[in-house]
Symmetry: C2
Amino acid sequence: MERQWRGVVFIATSVDGFIARKDDDIGWLTDPDSTISHMAEVGAGAAGDYDEMRKRVDHLVMGRGTYEKVLTFDAWPFDNIPVVVLSTSLPQDADTRVTVARSVAECVELLNERRSTGVYIDGGKTIQAFLDADLVDEITITRAPVLIGSGIPLFGSLQHDVRLSLRAVAAKEGYLHAQYEVVRP
Amino acid sequence: MERQWRGVVFIATSVDGFIARKDDDIGWLTDPDSTISHMAEVGAGAAGDYDEMRKRVDHLVMGRGTYEKVLTFDAWPFDNIPVVVLSTSLPQDADTRVTVARSVAECVELLNERRSTGVYIDGGKTIQAFLDADLVDEITITRAPVLIGSGIPLFGSLQHDVRLSLRAVAAKEGYLHAQYEVVRP
């Protein structure tokens, strides 16, 4: 699909690749065991810098699952960025803070119309759909130092291999950040 | 289970966590696209050094799947290390180059009797079984810069979270090595 924007994934997983437990819990990610010591910090700022990534995107796309999770937060955290929710069922006018897109194609069209230059793609299913539609250009994965055994996986099946170029790594307090660029054949 | 040896995992996966395709293919790991450029090497020798790991182990444990894969190689690659194959069905005297253990418990007993001090644990199912039985002390994962979408996963379900301490990282030619120590509560 033709587009002028970069698709950016920026997400954290357990070492075994889950973005949340099956019940959506992310305490294993946000509440590390502070009694565990880790190697000294390396590559500070080279990868995993949310603020730097945030400056390069002008829209946020998420699935209905992530949207409903965000609704449980005390406050809407995305006042500074337009949000598109990918959902076949959410009413178009349900929430004035978001725009609903019914399909990935409709979402791409909307982002093109909006003259987006960078899109932050969030949530497991949305990331998987965008990857499989070749709409992801950059992936930063932060691995939290824990195995949780089961949960909601970051990645899913693909029609083709996705080759990556490793661009930057950083390690801080046991969290390992790796930034990749998607390489097209 | 009581033991005097360290359980060591040293394995490569795709960024989406597979150790091989479903048909056992590892070409995506062993034959990288050399036209892709990556970040400059960092942390050389700090993690992912096979020879260094190899000096710290005196036995190799694998499952029947890995054993049968190794049999397809041109030559037996483990002349310098005693090999234990975990299998309920492989005849005890099928191959004089290996010792067969019928269960994880029998394997632990054998390694204790042999006065092992370090055990290299290989193969997805064996690693999962040893992790779940709390027999792994150290995990080095090398991530090849590719998503393959499906295959044989490194990790499986766990009875409990496994907390990790990040000890060393290294990046070379797009491969990201991370060495973790298992932390017990």
